[in-house]
Symmetry: C2
Subunit: 550 residues, 2 copies
Amino acid sequence: MAAVASFLRVDSFESHPSRYRHWKLSIAGDIATLVMDIDEANGLRSDYLLKQNSYDLGVDIELHDAIERLRFEHPEVRCLVLTGGQPKVFCAGANIRMLATSTHHFKVNFCKYTNETRCGIEEASAESGLHTLAALNGTAAGGGYELALAADSIALIDDRSSAVSLPEVPLLGVLPGTGGLTRLVDKRKVRRDLADVFCTRAEGFRARDAVKYRLVDVSYPRSSWEPSVQRLAQEKAALSPARATQGITLPPIEVEVSEAARRYRYADLELDFAGRTATLTVRGPDASAPVDAAALRAEGAGTWSMRAFREMEDALLHLRFNHPDVGLLLLKTRGDAAAVLAHGAALAGLRGDWLADEIHHYQARVLRRLDNMSRSMFAVIDPGSCFAGVLFEAALAADRLYMLDDPSVTIAVSEASAGSLRMSHGLSRLVNRFSAQPSDVDAALATNGAAISASEALDLGLITFAPDDIDWEDEVRIAIEERASLSPDALTGMEQNLRLVGPETCETRIYGRLSAWQNWIFQRPNAVGEQGALTLYGHPEQPRYDWGRT
Amino acid sequence: MAAVASFLRVDSFESHPSRYRHWKLSIAGDIATLVMDIDEANGLRSDYLLKQNSYDLGVDIELHDAIERLRFEHPEVRCLVLTGGQPKVFCAGANIRMLATSTHHFKVNFCKYTNETRCGIEEASAESGLHTLAALNGTAAGGGYELALAADSIALIDDRSSAVSLPEVPLLGVLPGTGGLTRLVDKRKVRRDLADVFCTRAEGFRARDAVKYRLVDVSYPRSSWEPSVQRLAQEKAALSPARATQGITLPPIEVEVSEAARRYRYADLELDFAGRTATLTVRGPDASAPVDAAALRAEGAGTWSMRAFREMEDALLHLRFNHPDVGLLLLKTRGDAAAVLAHGAALAGLRGDWLADEIHHYQARVLRRLDNMSRSMFAVIDPGSCFAGVLFEAALAADRLYMLDDPSVTIAVSEASAGSLRMSHGLSRLVNRFSAQPSDVDAALATNGAAISASEALDLGLITFAPDDIDWEDEVRIAIEERASLSPDALTGMEQNLRLVGPETCETRIYGRLSAWQNWIFQRPNAVGEQGALTLYGHPEQPRYDWGRT
């Protein structure tokens, strides 16, 4: 009785508080409150209802929008209270029928996006001091509790019915794959046997045990819930640093869309469906860099450092969700390397200014989305390109770098590569690249923005290949054709194992290990077969398992 | 045209050099040479030929046997040379037809076993100073090169034809899953873009480029190959510590086998097929502990600390391969806790004696096989049990610990839990357990072998549940039934994410991340479907891929 999997084209990854269907954002002083109150009839597809405050991608796009707006539009906010707007249930997690009827590809991308949103909540705390308090005024089940796990602190109402739970394993035969397992033991440090009990107990634990097992930080009875949460939020806000009193506005992204292209001011995404490749071309600045903090504020989200990255992010998300068959992404740039470096230097010079810092963190997030693409990526460094500074970081995210050996083509490494644009495991892309020889990192950084020729870049280990103009066209073409001919599954697995070297963090464990196991389980008949648990959830029939353990 | 997957029952995991079909072990002074010369007609199944020095599980069982025997029977050996006995090809990796016709379950267990053997080679170097030199006198492809990656150093013959390669992604649509991807970038620190090129290039690289890209350490021309390898082996041996001149003998394991049980002297594995559970009962010592190094040597592999763990290991391997439907392993003990502690204290008191140390490392390896079971595990601590010292470590490997709250039932924590029996990530099981509160580790260790009651154990956080005798039977029975009813896939994924907390190593990345991606790929039609690459390898047809990237 497996329903036919539905391919969903996602029209937009943008939203605005005035258009939220599922959340209510309010701000009072330095405390923001985001109330989850899902409009069950307004899911992204019409063949499921978002009952019990359960979510789909559309709900998460709004959540992501809210977090980004708090960072840029409301720097006065120091504590975000996440709470529920429906009785009894804070959030029941990802909608099961949506999951059961989605393609494998969509499920995996949905999980990746929601994971990025949750890692973004944690990053807002770490980088911008935005404390998030999950105020669970009802049951938080599955992805609902996983959302809470992304918060800095969790309060649960003590009312004899509300509980936290991860019922995925016992009820659905899948994992709490939105970071739940990892955050339970690695972030909240729940003892592994108690985590085991919790994750196999569909009903979860109510307040008293939830506190005892470290599943939540605190509980309050219903009678004093609201003032207690309010007081806790004020305490947390008081502990967070003040950033600024006045934000900037994030305007809608302007894009011209055709069947095979998305064209923005500073970026183009062009799709070659027959070749199964896409080309993302980022253009350098067309205006001089802001001279001081006031100028940067005046430019706001229009400043190149911000706008180009918003456009890149939008292009990457569309590629991920809407063009699964496009397996290879070519990264190109066009423009003036000196201008790119000047904009980077301007941001770096303003380090400590809240907006300059936020833009810098935002660039880092977009670059991490790039690291986390399940597509092969080649940087193509050719005439007219401007792979300098922060744009060279994008090239370092690629699996290979091809650079034309011609005097007119150069790259430049700036202090943008010195570590502040960290990858998921906390290392810079240069440190990640040169694990065999840390002194190679220093050698690259010592070039300090100077133009680097192809042969120098080869010597410095910054690029992979440097064909001359006789070989360039054939060599790049053949590499592209070869790559596009390989098994897309094997490439995804290979890239997941080669891209990040060395230490691991909660974040890398979520994307590298937890997601891999979830992907595996999402394929297995025990979950998605006709008699699988995910397929049959909500039906009277019991799932029937193939009991073989692997 | 997918062949029907064959279920293979593995009759024995034992071997002996006198019976090797695929390897030749010779020892000269402090250098051992293990020549891979696979008898193609003597695979474990008769429906494939082990051409081109390709291997199956039977080959790896012999390799594992050889490594263990070098550690125990030949402590005079300080360098092991791994080389090939056939012209042109050192080793072509795991046999493709064997993989293409095996069940998913067998493939995954086969990979896990071969990974454990390779991690064992590295552990023999780290713990016992046994340097392994892979002397590649022909092409090392796929698993053949992955075997070399497990060595401390790699020499490749420079003869214009021999190469190292990982052709899995381009030719088979699967990963080099025997640690290849991880060891390439994390152990050998090959630059990620060069690793990308290497892993997508079916023909690999010959000597000159292989040295340049750090894929091998050194190359020698054919004319000087043998003396060069010999000299290098001597150099490496000279750098390794001397251990001892005389080893002990590893006798065959004595076991009485029936359909539902394997009975050894110190261990019983009993299978409940209807309940899909197995019980592993380990018995404590029936003789006093060796009083000194000479006594330990005289007891040899018969000493309880060794024999009980050899029997446990054999039982665990049979459970893994031959009883995939048995999803829950109950761990029990019977005997005298004081005797267990006395044997542990004797070993600890002999620290520095080569044999005592080898036995200790061996116990650690068996316990890591236990951590790495894809089965749920409950420790059942009941009357007559002796969960003390090293046996309590086995209990700590379980997902949950149930202990009867009765004065007659106690556990004991000894210095066996202080860190020397490390898990794959390098931490002790207590440190892994108490990540939230490191002082809990000290509190447990401070009990120093004293009998700990159920209520004390609960307070110390050492056990999960302590029902009294009124509740015991029902509570344990219900827990077992519940566990055995859950999705086996979801449990495997859950346990993989909860059991190891904190830091990661090559080893955890291989089992946790690389294996998860390989499991996923092993399920996908692009590999194992009728037109998948693994299915069609060796056939004239080209694979046809579903291009969707996830």
